[in-house]
């Protein structure tokens, strides 16, 4: 039974801790930057007042008194407000507040439903809770002890009907009790005093003030913690201003241990000066964890307690559960300790300027050992530049001045590195003494990235504003319009407009109307396709036409949406004008060329016509000369003397030579005019050769020369232009006979390496090496060596070379002066 009693106490202690949590939280969460402003004028503020001694009430002299008036009067003095108190009941006051008839109502517990009706100041002023009271000697130690009891309560109070009021509380613990509802806390105490009820529920503040008057005692049952703040009309224009000022002042009051806040708390509400302006979050969460676990097991324990009251033999089980609960707490502590040690941020606690705690990460950051850091002044580990800054801040904070909780510094690490850090400091109570806890984050990387970004940004900006092209950024807006987001310097120079005439303006209000449909079409194309789009723009200016090459590309944001375009405009006016000039000039040239070609074609036609006519005119008389000479030579005109015959033969030979000259000239002019067509065909070599040789036999025989030929079996079927090949061979063999006085002329045809090889050999005068080069060139007759009574135009070889080359072949000569020559030509077999 004794053990059971101890356990109950333990549970209630845990419960009490839970009740305290929101107060701690409230104080911490609401840390806000305070804005200092000096009010020059005196403002009239209406404050609701009701009777709730000692929190707020009217004293014997009719003046507002209690905790809240103390705070209100202090804030009013600081802000130069004139306070007008408006008296009324609690319900009246709340109605006035709702209607905006008063500006501020103090002592309003924050609940979800009230939040919908009123605005609240953020800085928790006070935490209220509810307590159960009983007559001295009555044994009520926990909720369970209310089983079967009569309990007096304030009718309609939040602590009765609220979601965590007494009714909900007993239900949660399955306790059955009877509630007697009365109209005031005084009546509640009255009922308990005279025995109409065993217990009574009032606010702890009321109970503190009146319990002795009614000869009652408090029970350990404390519940419904509530943050009590100033409430303000939700829609009043003054409300945001008042909230800001109230928050600022309350925060300041709470930060200073000997402020009127703590004095008043102590004076009226028996709450000692235990300021908790800043409990680090990890401590808070540790406490929440512990508290939650405790309450979990507490509830479990309470259920057990119910069973213990009927079955004490299950005590051993209870002990086991307790041990589990203790183990859970131990594990939880270990868990948070691990979290602190393994945190990616440095965590330190400084007390009296010296490091009293340092976690593993911070040891790494400083590059010193635990031994080298613990007990040393924190600022020793900072770079000289920051030593002073941080020392000053710490001093300010310790003196209660508002100092930023977050600031930058640098660690001079043991390994010589400088580590950029961000310090997040807060005041805590460490082992009973005020201390500073700081969370320290390594920002070296962050700084490097920032510096790199900055560097990049400034380079880009430099480029942006110094390129010779226009650059602009436009933002797409609904209704398919575009707005200039930014433009570079060149843009302004080119348009002659100032930045505020462009940036922020709709594109359609800036660019000429004529080009808008083209431009916006291209913009949309880029937006829709997600690709860059290029086009050329022509703009008419009074000074002339400007040509621009424009490119726009969509800019994607981090989500991949495209709402902006970046565009460039390159002035290509000069290039365009040059192109136009060039085109004009080219057109002119083409005209000239056309005209000249026409002239040349005409001239060529005339030349061909002339040559054809000349040929005809030359042949006509030669027809008679050759014909009649031949008639006489052949004796058809009667017998002639030998001498006459010789003379006629000379006429005949020269006439024949003349005709061959005319033929060569005609061929040459045809070659030059490109009039020859090559028609390749298959034909028998020997058939062709026999004809040629037969035609030349007489000539050779007349000179006493032997003419012969040989065709390899491989070369029997030739593939070439028959008439041209015939003419080449006729020329070469004719020449050979012509330039050979004694010996022989021979033709060999063979096949070698995909070519037909034609060799015409003679035993004639030969050709001097210096003449070989010019042998195949037009109009060049070879020199003295060939003038030994021989005659030739030199055109035959030129024509032969042309005919060989027209067939894709080649021709050359091998010769030894005085011993003979060998003309060779090769024609491809295909």
């Amino acid at each position: 039974m004794l053990k059971s009693q101890n356990f109950k106490l333990y549970l209630l202690a845990m419960f009490g801790l839970l009740v305290l949590l929101p107060a701690i939280l409230g104080a911490n969460v609401s840390a806000n930057s305070a804005s200092v402003s000096a009010s020059a004028t005196v403002m009239n503020i209406k404050v609701g007042i009701y009777e709730n001694n000692p929190k707020i009430f009217t004293d014997d002299k009719g003046n507002p008194a209690g905790f809240w008036p103390d705070i209100i009067n202090y804030i009013a003095s600081q802000e130069s407000w004139k306070i007008e108190y408006v008296h009324g009941s609690w319900a009246e006051s709340l109605t006035r507040l709702e209607n905006g008839e008063i500006d501020v109502m103090p002592d309003v517990a924050i609940t979800e439903s009230r939040k919908t009706l009123y605005a609240f100041s953020n800085e928790t002023v006070y935490t209220s809770w509810t307590q159960v009271y009983t007559r001295s000697g009555a044994n009520i130690q926990s909720i369970i002890d209310l089983e079967g009891k009569k309990v007096a309560v304030l009718k309609g109070s939040v602590n009765v009907e609220g979601s965590d009021g007494i009714k909900a509380l007993v239900k949660a613990f399955s306790v059955n009790c009877t509630f007697v509802e009365v109209d005031s806390y005084n009546q509640v105490f009255e009922m308990v005093k005279n025995g109409a009820a065993e217990a009574g529920v009032t606010s702890k503040d009321f109970g503190y003030r009146y319990k002795n008057e009614y000869n009652l005692v408090e029970t350990p049952i404390i519940f419904q913690p509530a943050r009590v703040n100033f409430a303000l009309p939700k829609t009043a224009s003054l409300t945001p201003y008042l909230i800001e000022k109230i928050d600022f002042q309350v925060k300041k009051l709470k930060e200073s241990g000997d402020s009127i806040y703590y004095n008043s708390l102590s004076k009226w509400l028996a709450q000692g000066p235990t300021p908790k302006p800043a409990i680090p979050r990890w401590v808070t969460w540790t406490l929440i964890g512990v508290g939650s676990l405790a309450i979990t097991f507490g509830i479990f324990g309470l259920a057990l307690r119910l069973r213990v009251s009927s079955k004490t033999k299950e005590l051993t089980q209870e002990i086991k559960e307790r041990k589990q609960a203790e183990e859970a707490i131990r594990q939880s502590e270990a868990k948070y300790s691990t979290l602190v040690e393994q945190s990616n941020d440095g965590i330190i606690i400084i007390q009296n300027s010296r490091l009293v705690f340092i976690n593993q990460k911070m040891i790494e950051l400083t590059a010193y050992s635990l031994k080298e850091t613990i007990g040393k002044p924190f600022i020793d580990f900072l770079t000289p530049r920051y030593k002073q800054v941080v020392a000053q801040r710490n001093q300010s904070r310790m003196q209660g001045e508002a100092a930023p909780e977050r600031y930058e510094a640098e660690i001079a690490a043991g390994n010589g590195n400088v580590v950029a850090i961000e310090i997040n400091a807060s005041l805590i109570n460490y082992e009973g003494q005020p201390a500073t806890m700081a969370v320290i984050r390594d920002t070296t990387k962050q700084k490097e990235i920032w510096a790199a970004l900055h560097d990049r940004e400034s380079r880009l900006s430099l480029i942006y504003n110094n390129v010779s092209d226009v650059i602009f950024v436009v933002t797409a807006e609904p209704a398919e319009s575009f707005r200039f987001e930014s433009v570079n310097r060149r843009f302004l120079e080119a348009t002659g407009l100032s930045e505020n005439q462009i940036v922020g303006k709709l594109v359609k209000d800036v660019i000429p109307e004529a080009s808008q449909s083209l431009v916006f079409g291209k913009y949309r194309e880029a937006m829709e396709t997600g690709k860059s789009v290029q086009w050329e723009e022509v703009t008419e200016y009074p000074t002339g036409t400007k040509y621009g090459e424009v490119m726009v590309a969509p800019i994607e944001d981090a989500k991949g949406n495209c709402t902006q375009l970046i565009g460039t405009l390159h002035d290509i006016t000069e290039r365009k004008l040059a192109e136009k000039e060039l085109a004009k000039y080219q057109e002119h040239l083409e005209g000239l060329v056309k005209q000249r070609t026409l002239e040349l074609e005409n001239a060529n036609l005339h030349k061909s016509q002339f040559l054809a006519n000349m040929s005809h005119e030359l042949r006509t008389p030669l027809n008679s000369i050759i014909g009649y000479t031949k008639l006489m030579l052949d004796g058809m005109e009667g017998s002639i003397t030998t001498e006459q015959k010789e003379d006629l033969q000379t006429v005949y030979d020269n006439s024949k030579h003349l005709i061959s000259l005319i033929n060569d000239l005609l061929d040459l002019s045809k070659i030059e005019a490109g009039k020859f067509e090559i028609i390749k065909e298959q034909f028998a070599a020997s058939e062709l050769i026999s004809k040629i040789v037969h035609g030349l036999e007489k000539l050779a025989k007349d000179k006493g020369l032997e003419i012969s030929y040989a065709v390899d079996a491989e070369a029997e079927i030739l593939y070439a232009d028959k008439s041209k090949t015939k003419q080449i061979l006729f020329n070469l063999l004719g020449n050979a006979i012509k330039f050979t006085q004694t010996g022989s002329v021979r033709l060999d045809i063979s096949k070698n390496g995909g070519e037909f090889i034609f060799k015409v050999s003679d035993t004639g005068v030969g050709i001097a090496p210096q003449d070989i080069e010019t042998l195949f060139k037009s109009y060049k007759q070879v020199g003295p060596a060939r003038l030994d009574g021989s005659e030739g135009t030199g055109l035959g070889l030129v024509i032969s070379k042309q005919f060989v080359e027209l067939q894709g072949g080649r021709i050359w000569v091998e010769s030894t002066l005085g011993k003979g020559s060998r003309f060779i030509f090769a024609l491809p077999e295909k």
Binding site: A612, H616, R619, T620, N623, I625, G627, K630
Partner: protein, 127 residues
């Protein structure tokens, strides 16, 4: 000299007497009967009245129609259309040659004529 021309009649059309005489001398030796015309128009008349076995037509004629036109007209007359016409000209232009063949000439002999070859060339056109 053969007499392959016996009984065969050749109409020589040429505006120059010296040319007509040369052909006449060569061909008469081979027993051909030679009739002559100086203009194209006359040649058409003679072709119809004489009905030669072959017409040797000079292309360029000084007066009246040229040899091409004369041939074209001859080929339009059913009574003489089947008489072979051989163009004989000092022109070597392929265009002239093509024009002659297109008009209906059976062959083409170039001036200056080769006296040894000429009778053989003529003989092959007379069936």
């Amino acid at each position: 000299m053969g007499n392959e021309g016996a009984g065969k009649k050749i109409l020589v059309v040429d505006d120059k007497e010296e040319n007509r005489r040369l052909l006449r001398k060569i061909l008469v030796l081979r027993a051909y009967i030679i009739i002559e015309a100086v203009t194209g128009e006359r040649a058409i008349e003679l072709a119809q009245t004489e009905r030669p076995d072959l017409i040797l037509m000079d292309i360029r004629l000084r007066d009246g129609i040229d040899g091409i036109e004369a041939t074209r007209r001859l080929k339009k007359l059913p009574s003489v259309a089947n008489i072979p016409v051989v163009a004989i000209t000092a022109s070597v232009s392929p265009e002239d040659m093509q024009r002659a063949l297109d008009t209906g000439c059976s062959g083409f002999i170039r001036k200056p004529i080769d006296i040894d070859e000429f009778p053989k060339q003529v003989a092959q056109y007379i069936s």
